[in-house]
């Protein structure tokens, strides 16, 4: 189990650090956590809208992945421990994430960390942005893994997410409750909600500008031609970007892209059901390592050997 807390006095082998990252001419103080060999394959992990890198804590805790991969989970500027820059009057404007700023931020973090041929993996906003990364930075990554990725994902840029008469913490979290499959452990699904409740006002909505407004690759997928494999992995219970959306993205990109349907999991695979997601992720990471594996286009608890009550029967 990855979700068991450490024993009293036991230190987890995950370390946290801050690094300066220049993004769009502003020096940002970016927090990241990492685990794995210094010479391992870098695997950078992008959190979802309004959240932060702790969504990846169960992946960082996994002994098997961190044997070969240097797993790095960062907080975007303004998120988590990456506080807004003290040099800017950031409170005088709405926080807004654009596709240009998002892609530049990710590449700048990889550059600041001096990562050679990193693997990129992200979910939701982090899944969608594999299209911009593959389009604008085709030679920067060893592989792109887009979780819960779509050509577009409308409908979530709501003014209620910064309304003074609405509890922003609660609705940022619990508007996402239904994005998760009911099969996951309640403790990890509740933890995902708890992480969401920590976001500041406007952050969720600002990220959702990218998610639901700025990100739109309809008719433009032929521009996405990265010099690396692309894996598009969408959960059965993700109502916003479902497995059909993954197939649309992969078909639009072409031969270097693979769509994977993940049964009985939703929009937050790495934190809603980390044990099941780690099983789904394994063949993808093995493929990236160059092992001779078949990456299935559909995975279920049964096919990866996980006993999950109520799991959807295989077709």
């Amino acid at each position: 189990m990855t979700i068991k807390p450490p024993e009293h006095g036991e230190k987890e082998p995950v370390t946290g650090q801050y690094i300066g990252v220049e993004i769009d001419g502003v020096n940002q103080r970016v927090y990241y956590e990492e685990r794995g060999p210094e010479d391992g394959i870098p695997l950078i992990c992008q959190h979802t809208a309004g959240n932060h890198g702790q969504e990846w804590r169960h992946i960082l805790a996994d002994d098997e992945i961190t044997e070969d991969f240097r797993v790095i989970a960062y907080d975007l500027p303004h998120h988590g421990k990456s506080l807004p820059p003290t040099t800017q009057d950031w409170w005088e404007e709405d926080y807004t994430l654009t596709e240009e700023k998002f892609a530049e931020t990710i590449v700048s973090i990889a550059d600041a960390l001096d990562l050679e041929d990193p693997v990129y993996m992200g979910s939701s906003i982090g899944g969608n942005v594999v299209l911009q990364l593959g389009d604008w930075h085709p030679d920067r990554f060893r592989a792109l893994i887009g979780l819960e990725c779509g050509v577009r994902s409308p409908g979530y840029y709501l003014d209620w997410f910064h309304h003074p008469e609405v509890n922003i913490a609660e609705i940022s979290a619990y508007s996402c409750w239904g994005l998760m499959a009911p099969h996951g452990p309640e403790e990890t699904r509740r933890e995902t909600m708890h992480l969401y409740e920590q976001g500041s006002t406007g952050l969720f909505r600002g990220d959702l500008f990218y998610y639901s407004v700025d990100h739109d690759y309809r008719g433009q997928l032929d521009q996405v031609n990265p010099e690396c494999p692309v894996y598009v992995m969408n959960g059965e219970y993700d109502f916003a970007t479902d497995p059909a959306d993954a197939r649309e993205v992969a078909e639009g990109i072409g031969d270097q892209a693979t769509a994977i349907e993940m049964k009985n999991i939703g929009h937050f695979p790495m934190c809603e059901n980390p044990d099941l997601f780690l099983k789904y992720l394994k063949p993808v990471l093995d493929d990236i390592k160059g092992e001779d594996v078949d990456v299935p286009d559909e995975m279920s608890p049964e096919t990866v050997g996980v006993d999950l009550p109520g799991a959807t029967a295989d077709d």
Partner: protein, 139 residues
Amino acid sequence: MATTEFASHEWWESYRETVNEDQEMKVRGHDNFDENFYVEIGNSMFLIEMDGGEVENVVPEPGVNDVWSFGVEGSREAWEEFVQEYPPAHNNEIIASDYRTAVKGEDGHLELKGNNKKIWQNFRPFQRALDLMRETQQS
């Protein structure tokens, strides 16, 4: 699995007990949930009158003297999927079901109706109250 028929008088009595005994409805502001909401199951409408996070009354076929802020509408089939122990994708929670209706334009899902501001102001306890329909059905 409930021994009474879904949405029958006895079932709603059981629902009221389930909500009023639910520990989560007593904490973290759920206990300030006072907005009445309705549930429309096919052609049948039920008004759930809330007071302090508890169900005060369930009124079948409410009329002009009744007051509510918002509600959920859907076919009986969609509701029967919603209350399953492991509901199928996109009818598993109200926000999922409403998204597939409102944004994707699909049929066969539930739909939120009413005062949007009050929906979002009360969303967490409202969603919990709807989820307790599942617990009622599975008890």
